[in-house]
Symmetry: C2
Subunit: 768 residues, 2 copies
């Protein structure tokens, strides 16, 4: 073993503390030195990782520090130590601290990137990971699930970190409670910036999960506070609380397509959080409530347009005597002192009721148990555009007490209910681009429920002691919210704000130039094709955001081998093709993803183009995922297969694209898989994918389709087929819609093309 | 309204307290005065109930005291205020205190006798009921369930009370958790004496129940400490914990036929309790464990012979993903520092496994999930008679860690297991009639699990800090347990110890004397019949413990009306008939219970007698219950019906007698219901009744039995049919035994009497 390069002993007399603090600095430059330093480390030691790239390192940091003298593992310069390749970090022992590391360009060989344990029996306690970044540290395949930060033990902390870009399955952060070593853990997840997590396509994309259904009876006592969640779009649950006594406080959920969900477990406090939408995107959610004893207080909902499962307050129906992993009845929940501004139908009850599906679901799946002993009180609703249904009862809210709630619905009628009173409110600016009703309603008597004296503060931390009033915000002077200032969250050396760069347009005159310039182009650039024909014999690799376009009717003739694509869609590859005629040799493909290692998402947009003579217009393999695939003003003709997105056949709820949009297109002589888009597995809380087919014409297609359907979209939750013409397609059905979900069609013309049928219920595999 | 009779104001300056305490004494003599006093009461008031009988009073005690100045409702002299008739007590408000009352000779008009609330919304907090007695305050019918003390609200106390004799359904004491007003209640149930609760016959006979399956996820934080449970035989669960975070500490379970059961909910502490049996009765149990996170520490088990469900430590199998009201898997349980003395097979795992019944039970009833992450460590076993199976695995204990356990098995071999080591131990006397291993094993290294540093004391409260060792008792000098001294528990003015009185024998010469002397006799007396024939035309009322016997062959000829009994078995009536010939008129009965209002148990023993020419030898109606019914050396002949105990047809698990014993008897020409004993309803944890038929002869009987069975005992759990002769009975079956339960037969002779069949599984109604 190499000798440790430098040891510096320091004797630091801390003036604020009576005990002298002894610190030993040990600088290490490689894994061997690091392991040696860890092996010898004692309370007070600081192990310093030299700046630079640390590749393929599996760090096991074990030691026993003390409260006064923790053992520290830190970057020489915060942000200049890069953990790359196949790497991981595990901690065990007591009072350990890790800081300043940057995990990037790699993935973990284990089931987690950072774990607060080194073996099943050796956990960390009183330890923290702080001021670190984990960015795009994804496994190679989407369904190789893992967790980026996994908590075990007790009293651990993840603070001031920036964590973003997880595309593979598994929550970004999970608290594990299996074992006495990890209950009543009082972990803190604080001051972090959870940056964009792209839509995963299906379940298992939570940003934070606290326990699992198997430990739903366990007391976790985890605090998630003062974090910024920005575009955390992984799935319908941003935070999935599955244990007892968690506290979710003062977080900002900004343009995040999901909700805070008390999925299992009880007695969760969701207090003083900000849910900020844009008034348009109806994927941004609020708080979805299941189980017993939660207190939802002092939260501010601003322009949240989520519906049903994603509504600002979604109170679910339970399953009577529910199995452990399903839906317990909501009881003893308090929803008090919240403010809802321009958020549609904010209170929804009996969400998830499925009594009508009793024929196709087992009895143990029927959610018929309505909320009991639940109080919705002291809340304020303000709608600048009136909302006819501030309350939606999917099932009766007869177990809910409403009291001392006020609403300004700007003159629009709504169905009246005791405990929700109209009142004219005025808005006060409380920050940049945000106003809220704050004053003028102190005359509304507050409802005092059991233990309400414990609600001592408003969302801003002002005391309710003296001049209490309904709503999340007390009437104090000069409120200036600064909740979206990213400098307040995450690592102090990292920002995800990037300067917007003007795209560069590269003129391309021949095929070899196309290959070369595509390779050299930067993210966002445009390749302008300036010849009539480009003959290409090998796949063009798309690994960045790029636009390929022409002014006139440029042809790209792909002469490559059978079953290879003209455009190979690889991780991060997002291509827009505009005004191009793409011509194949009947055996090869126009577009295809990689067959494996699609460690990050691709994207595809085809506009004003023609695709002909291919085996597949688009073939997306299992594990590949795109947030959006769009065809617009485009013709697909004389192809064996059309748009193929049906390989996620494991029936775990996954699918290949969140949105597939086909607008004003023509399909002619596409023999099979004309549109084939699949999602399998029964999961009531998966809300994708989305298929939109409008203003298009399908002729002479589908003749080879074995199931005799022209458009296959089995299991896709949102389907919209409008204003299309189907003519001379030899199929039995143009489409079979799923009536119980959001599948609709209108204004289509069918000539000699079978029919469109709606089946109310679809028999699907249960996922759990 | 009458004027309050006397108001005395006192100004008491408490020397121990800096605040002056103002007390107003208000003495009341009737309900009107009491109600007026309650209406006006203020902090510091003491309402004094005049001595005497308070009949038919429904007391609602509401008020707001303070910690320093509670409002007190008390007996003029503790124990001299009798609450009788149709009466109840309800409390609501804060800091109330009730003391000195004696509930007897009556029952409650409500669903509880004492309730810590006056309406669904008005509960009591910081209030207590102390130094009171509730005795035999039973509803008129056994299945009119109620609760004697029902907790609502928070921080209430039941202390120093004596409570005994509940025969009707429903737990004696229950903590209710429905609603935010009653969670995290920190109630205290302390220093009480729970006196004998007779066997109820079926479920719903718990002494204390903490919550219900519907609130099993709720934090209760109730403490049950320092109580004496004496002969609490109501059902298999003495304490049924159904919520989280309860503490069951330093209680004495003395000759109680049941167990402490963590039926639902998690994280219960069962610490420092004494389970005292007699080395014979195998109904005395220990601790039965279901669910997660319980800590079973420092308990002492002495001569506990319970098996399977009632074994000292019974760890159950769970149902995978169990429904809320069934059996969750056992996980993360700690069983540490307990001592087991002369207690058979004290550790049983996989209790309740029923994988073999998969054919007759729904999947959601199959208990196949074995315990996980469970530690059985630092325990001591001493067997003066060696036990071949200290560990029984009904299903594999592969998820259990054994470590640092020692056993002295007095030389008897047992199947070895890591973590359970043989060691020679010696017994030290630690109290009257009790010895335990205390010293000589300090060399055994204790196992230190997660959080084991929180186990700071032994069963006696001695610190484990300095000289820790395995087992419940540390090695300190002069241990003198005084745990069975009844003066340490219950009301200070009441004792259930009665002087034993020698029974008096009354000589009876004719029928009218028999009626008169039966009426006048005292409990336990003997009537000696000294004539040859007693002709009786009206039922003899049995309402006490009495023996009726003769020296020779005395006849009692019952000439009463059809369908009336010679002996009418009424509440508390326990009769022994010895050496008597009982003769009917073919239309009337020998023995029968009342048809209704059997508010307490009866008993029947018939020895050396003959019963003939009756419609029924014994007819027991629905709701009537006897702990024992015995026929010995007795002939039953020429009767239309024999022994009829089959009217509990609601299938809620109830039955009419705990034990039916027929030994050395003869049945001849009994046409139907020869023996008809029924229990209905599937409930894996009901362990009765008990049918023993031995050395008897059945001839020419059962000819009119519609189901063609001679002995009917459908649903009875323990059946023993040995050494009998069955001859010329026109039936298809003598008996159909339930193979999965404890139903056995041996050495029977069947001549022209059909057969005995065993059916492994019985299809029964599910009870829940």
């Amino acid at each position: 073993m190499k000798k440790i390069t430098s040891i510096i002993c320091l004797l630091v007399l801390l003036t604020a503390c009576s005990k002298p603090k002894i610190t030993k600095l040990i600088k290490v430059s490689n894994l061997e030195e690091l392991n040696a330093a860890i092996k010898d480390c004692k309370a007070g030691d600081e192990i310093v990782l030299a700046n630079g790239v640390w590749k393929d390192v599996e760090i096991k940091f074990s030691g026993n520090g003390t409260e006064e003298n923790p053992i520290i593992l830190k970057a020489e310069t915060a942000g200049e130590v890069f953990i790359e390749g196949v790497s991981s970090l595990e901690l065990s022992g007591n009072h350990l601290e890790v800081s300043g590391l940057f995990f990037r360009n790699g993935h973990s060989p284990k089931t987690n990137v950072i774990a607060f344990r080194t073996s099943a029996k050796e956990v960390a306690n009183h330890s923290k990971v702080t001021n670190c970044v984990i960015l795009d540290f994804n496994n190679l395949e989407r369904d190789q699930d893992n967790i980026w930060v996994q908590f075990y033990g007790k009293q651990n902390e993840l603070s001031n970190c920036y964590i973003a870009g997880k595309t593979n399955g598994g929550p970004t952060v999970r608290v594990d409670l299996k074992g006495n070593q990890s209950i009543r853990n009082y972990h803190n997840i604080i001051n972090n910036h959870f940056g964009p997590r792209p839509r995963k396509g299906g379940a298992r994309g939570e940003t934070i999960q606290l326990g699992s259904s198997f430990t739903s009876m366990s007391p976790s006592n985890t605090t998630i506070a003062n974090n910024l969640f920005e575009e955390c779009n992984g799935e319908v649950e941003i935070i999935s609380s599955k244990t007892n006594f968690n506290i979710i406080k003062n977080n900002v959920f900004y343009k995040s397509e999901g909700s805070v969900v008390t999925r299992h477990g009880n007695y969760v406090t969701v207090d003083g959080n900000y849910f900020i939408g844009d008034g348009v995107n109806d994927q941004y959610g609020g708080i979805r409530i299941i189980n017993t004893g939660h207190w939802i207080t002092n939260n501010l909902f601003y322009k949240i347009k989520g519906k049903n499962f994603r509504s600002p307050i979604a109170i679910m129906n339970g399953i009577p005597k529910s199995p452990l992993n399903r839906y317990n009845q909501v009881t003893d929940v308090v929803v008090a002192y919240n403010t809802f501004i321009d958020s549609d139908s904010p209170w929804q009850f009996g969400v998830g009721t499925n009594i009508s599906q009793a024929d196709v679901l087992p009895k143990s799946e029927i959610r018929s148990a309505r909320p009991l002993r639940t109080e919705v009180v002291n809340n304020v609703i303000y709608n600048s555009v009136g909302d006819a249904n501030p309350i939606i009862e999917h099932d009766k809210a007869d177990g809910v007490t409403f009291a001392s709630n006020i609403i300004d619905n700007n003159g629009v009628d709504f169905s009246k209910r005791d405990g929700l009173t109209s009142k004219k409110l005025t808005l006060t600016p409380i920050g940049s681009d945000i106003s809220a009703p704050v004053s003028g309603f102190s005359d509304v008597e507050v409802y005092n429920g059991f233990d309400f004296e414990t609600i001592t503060e408003d969302v801003l931390g002002n005391s309710r002691d003296k001049s209490n009033q309904v709503g999340a915000i007390l009437d104090v002077e000069n409120i200036k919210l600064d909740i979206l200032n990213k400098a307040n969250y995450g690592a102090d050396w990292y920002s995800n704000e990037v300067e917007i760069r003007d795209p560069k347009t590269h003129s391309v005159s021949n095929a070899s130039e196309l290959v070369a310039k595509l390779k050299d182009a930067e993210n966002g650039d445009i390749l302008e094709l300036n010849a009539e024909v480009f003959k290409i014999s090998e796949s063009l690799i798309i690994d960045k955001t790029i636009t390929i376009q022409s002014k006139g009717s440029t042809e790209i003739v792909y002469e490559g081998a059978a079953n290879t694509p003209a455009f190979s869609l690889t991780p991060y590859g997002k291509i827009t093709v505009k005004n191009i005629k793409l011509i194949g040799n009947t055996s090869n493909y126009a577009f295809a993803s990689l067959k494996e290692n699609m460690s990050n998402h691709f994207g595809l947009e085809v506009i004003d183009s023609e695709i002909s003579n291919f085996n597949y217009a688009l073939r997306v393999y299992k594990q590949a995922f795109s947030e959006q695939i769009t065809f617009k003003n485009t013709t697909i003709s004389d192809c064996e297969n059309g748009i193929e997105l049906s390989e996620e056949t494991k029936d775990r709820g996954d699918y290949n694209t969140e949105y597939l949009t086909i607008d004003n297109c023509t399909f002619n002589n596409v023999k099979q898989n004309v549109v084939d888009y699949y999602r399998g597995g029964y999961d009531e809380s998966t809300i994708g994918g989305n298929l939109l087919i409008t203003n298009s014409t399908f002729t002479n297609s589908g003749s080879e389709e074995k199931n005799q359907r022209l458009l296959n979209h089995n299991g896709i939750v949102n389907v919209n087929i409008n204003n299309n013409t189907f003519k001379n397609n030899k199929v039995k059905f143009v489409s079979i819609l799923w009536g119980a979900k959001n599948n609709v069609e209108s204004n289509n013309t069918l000539i000699n093309s079978g029919q469109i049928k709606t089946e109310e219920n679809l028999v699907m595999t249960l996922m759990y």
